[in-house]
Symmetry: C2
Subunit: 121 residues, 2 copies
């Protein structure tokens, strides 16, 4: 169970990060996700980090990379479910999650994607 499953819902892909990611699994996730965006023609990617208790620069960089990669493939990325403590840590570490949009939860993330697409048809 070392690959993160990618769920598809309409033209949105949903990933829920639950395992401690190492270099290998991050690379595997990025490849799987890029493949999934291309094969499904997804317009949005939602990454749920509800289960993530500690965000370090490694995870922060992964989120930024996924967002940049998805943007190349014409998909928006929204990170949802961030814990308050994680937000505090990110700011204290000076990690800004450049290029990554956030929303409080899955529903608001989907609403944000719909809004973005509505604004730039």
């Amino acid at each position: 169970m070392d690959r993160v499953p990618i769920l598809k819902l309409g033209d949105i892909l949903i990933i829920s990060i639950q395992i401690d990611l190492d270099d290998q699994s991050v690379l595997a996730l990025q490849e799987d996700l890029a493949d999934a965006v291309v094969t499904t023609g997804a317009r949005g990617v939602i990454i749920d980090i509800t289960a993530v208790e500690i965000v370090d620069s490694f995870i922060g960089r992964m989120l930024s990379t996924i967002a940049a990669m998805s943007r190349m493939l014409d998909a928006q990325t929204v990170v949802v479910g961030m814990r308050p403590a994680v937000a505090i840590t990110l700011v204290e570490l000076g990690l800004s999650l450049g290029g990554v949009q956030t929303a409080l939860n899955l529903e608001k993330g989907i609403a944000r994607l719909d809004h973005v697409r509505g604004a730039t048809p």
Copy 2:
């Protein structure tokens, strides 16, 4: 990261099983889920097992228990994303997943829940 996050989408709760579950985490998941069904008033629960490579009687029983528990709370359970090898193993083990509905993927699971609710309003 030993608790399985529960995502909410409308009146459906989505769980993606990615970690190896032991007795403790299964109990925690069942409690969290029962709480979530009650607090959100969810009518459906979707359990994604895409990442699950091996299903034994322990996991099978967990799925049946969650389905029975959700039914008590007036929510339908659909298991989605079962791998072909897992289906074969389940049949060979004689595990029938009593009371558990299945669907191929998340989208079909949601469609099935809509159908069930449409049939019995």
